[in-house]
């Protein structure tokens, strides 16, 4: 015990100056070594250069492989995306042009039919719902073409209908 503490007790006339109280508490054997190890582990205290990554589980490895950025795949995906953006409006316009038959003017339809009348039959005209001038049609058809058509299809006409036509 320090002299100054003993002197102080003597000044107080305390018997503690003569009878020292022993610090009788003792820790179990190896307590301090174990405490240090426990705390270092509990607090995860490591030097940065000693830090080791924890081994990954199978599921984590698979997920990591799937999610790992692959430069080539990423570049390819980006290129496809860019092409998609570039071509999409043109493709869309083509489809619109093909499907916008009703946008054509009536004169344009007539002109097209008259130029290509040989390639049409009546069924196709009815499907197209194109109104066509009967005289124009008759003028375009030769007599022998009419005869041939009638001869080939006469059985399908009844007499009354034949009279109505001619």
């Amino acid at each position: 015990m320090k002299k100054e503490i003993i002197d102080e007790l003597q000044e107080m006339n305390s018997f503690l100056a003569e009878h020292k109280i022993e610090d009788g508490y003792q820790a179990p054997a190896n307590y301090f070594n174990n405490l240090q190890l426990d705390l270092l582990q509990k607090l995860d205290i490591k030097n940065e250069n000693n830090a080791q990554e924890k081994p990954l589980g199978t599921f984590q490895k698979i997920m990591q492989a799937i999610l790992r950025p692959a430069p080539l795949l990423t570049a390819a995906a980006l290129a496809l995306f860019a092409l998609g953006i570039f071509f999409w409006p043109a493709y869309d316009a083509t489809i619109d042009a093909q499907l916008s038959f009703s946008d054509l003017s009536e004169e344009e339809v007539h002109a097209y039919i008259e130029d290509n009348i040989d390639e049409f039959d009546l069924d196709l005209l009815s499907i197209a719902d194109a109104s066509i001038d009967e005289t124009t049609l008759m003028n375009k058809l030769e007599d022998d073409q009419l005869d041939e058509y009638i001869n080939n299809n006469i059985e399908e006409f009844d007499e009354q209908l034949f009279d109505e036509i001619f």
Binding site: I21, E22, L43, N47
Partner: protein, 185 residues
Amino acid sequence: MKEDIDDKILSLISNKTSVEQGFRLLMDTYQERLYHHIRRMVIEHEDADDVLQNVMIKVFKSIHKFEQNAALYTWLYRIATNETISFLRKKNRKKTSSIHNEDLNLDNTLKAEIQFDGDEAQRILRQALNELPEKQKLVFNMRYFDEMPYKQIAEVLNTSVGSLKASYHHAVKKIESYIKQQNFI
């Protein structure tokens, strides 16, 4: 000398590549003293172990905020003292309904925990010490067992040196009084 070790501890802990060595050095230097400081107050080893672990966790988590206005040793003692007082108050709240039994238990605990080597005088002295109020016991322990200067105790307990001297004096007189009651002197 102590300041040199403290500087080394702080320097090692502040560097990420040597934090482990820093913490090991801190524990090697102070864990036993802190353990005994706590143990003298809580008596049982298991309680001292719990408190000391909490102290070390708090120290590690807040050491980066430590401002070197006081010595590291003083700062550690302050944390340990606050943690011990907090533990004792929580424990006392739980046991207020069985004070009488608690006194008996403490007496038995003292017999079991302290290694007296058959010295009855030491057991009575220890009992006398445990009869002291919380603050007087703290002051007595730090002055008598840890031999700390009053100035340092004042920093730990955030009080004046004059008040500490008075507390120490009262503590010594109360211990003597208890011993006389036991017909020991």
